[in-house]
Symmetry: C2
Subunit: 271 residues, 2 copies
């Protein structure tokens, strides 16, 4: 998917909502456990209920990998279902991969070609040759971890690397890499005050923002400091939407929560 | 596996060789492609041929993930085969994972419990809460990326974070985390001169050293600067062993190369 198609979808739906499909069989409604593939059954219902106001779906790959082969089957069915039924929706493999060149190329092929995701999250620690193989893919997007939403972000990311915070070095340095126009960045909403400075370094890039809701981030602050003229934001919510109800009404409850977030987002979108 | 068991195995085999099972179906002997599971058939033959002088096997997870579900089946058969037939051998899931707490816990369960690996490689960028869930597992080992063997290591790892190289901050900081005695570190052999300083910070930890052979590292330098009184090294070789021959004699050729490395290692092991 091109960035322009993503922007058009945001304006059409008046939403920059990303729904995190972090599906834990301990948390899904009990009646689904008798299905042949409970995780896919859950995802399908959530997707059908929320697609109208959602511009991106982000399965966290760990949650599928943890179930072994049945997990991978559920992941494949989920991405295939989105691509077949909602091809306009942007898909993110939240995998946070990072490895040397030839290995990075294997991961890129796995997520972009074999599974057919539009984007994948990647960790920056191993530097340029661990990221560029992902950037080679046209109309595919590499979402680099910059400033994450967890407490451990303060262990290294916010400390000064040669006089400037490591996460800023990651933004600056990665912008010099080949095909860097295919980069987006992960920036946690729990650190919205940092967004102003991030926008000085990467004014045009899309930012994937986790941490709204359960993790405490404020949508208003994210929009105030992080939005650019193309919106430039994908705001992720997972638990607040997908586990809004533990009963048979889970999909309807998810839709209600997604609609609330979309309504809040619409207020920040100017044509 | 306990660290003491690993050390005992090293002394018994007079070897600290780790064989990287980075298996690419484009590179394995053509006659294996008619097997039902060519990757597992290849691994089984390599393992049987090298186990006598090998103390650790390290499948690079990307190479399995790239093949989708058949890849995960081959990975599971491979780890099961090692655990059943060579339970004394240390196993490393080279996954380089790194994610927030609840997700890290999912990955830890997937690799330690579901698949039954002794250890997993983890990236440090997201800090403490992304690593500690792995450290919770008794007699399982978390191998943290410190200084990697690729050119991109110089993009961030070797630059000064608050006045000291980032990779040194990773070593120092991680040593303060809960259950840090379960940590080992990845240190690339192409930077053997750094090993002296690394040993000042983590004198007792095991170091997993990739980059010998194809990537240019010297075994002698690694031993001179990196060895401690418990040996404290696992030196990885992948392509130089597993692709030593592309013919029907591939397993015998792999054994020959593994024996050469073991003989070189033996010279550095004192009782």
């Amino acid at each position: 998917m091109t960035t322009q198609e993503l922007i058009a979808q945001i304006h059409k739906k008046k939403s920059f909502l990303c729904v995190g499909l972090d599906v834990d069989t301990d948390k899904i409604p009990a009646h689904l456990l008798k299905e042949e593939d409970p995780v896919f059954a859950f995802n399908k219902a959530i997707i059908d209920a929320t697609a109208e106001v959602t511009v991106a779906y982000k399965p966290n790959i760990a949650f599928y990998e943890a179930y072994g082969i049945p997990g991978w089957k559920a992941l494949r069915k989920t991405i295939d279902y989105i691509n077949e039924n909602y091809p306009e929706i942007f898909t993110i493999a939240d995998a946070k991969r990072g490895d040397i060149g030839n290995t990075a190329a294997m991961y890129a092929r796995a997520f972009f070609e074999d599974l057919g995701f539009d984007s994948v999250t990647v960790a920056p620690y191993m530097g340029r040759d661990s990221v560029e193989p992902f950037l080679d893919f046209e109309n595919k997007h590499t979402i680099l971890l910059a400033l994450t939403s967890n407490p451990g972000a303060f262990d290294f990311q916010t400390r000064d690397l040669d006089g400037k915070a490591l996460y800023k070095r990651v933004l600056e340095t990665s912008a010099t890499w080949k095909n860097s126009s295919n980069l987006m960045y992960v920036v946690g909403a729990t650190k919205a005050e940092y967004l102003r400075e991030i926008r000085r370094i990467v004014p045009d890039s899309f930012l994937l923002v986790p941490g709204i809701g359960a993790q405490g981030g404020s949508l208003e602050e994210v929009c105030r400091y992080g939005m650019n003229e193309n919106i430039g934001l994908l705001v992720n919510s997972a638990r607040g939407i997908i586990y809004a109800s533990g009963g048979t009404d889970f999909a309807e409850a998810a839709r209600t929560e997604a609609l609330k977030l979309q309504a809040a987002m619409t207020a920040f979108i100017t044509e």
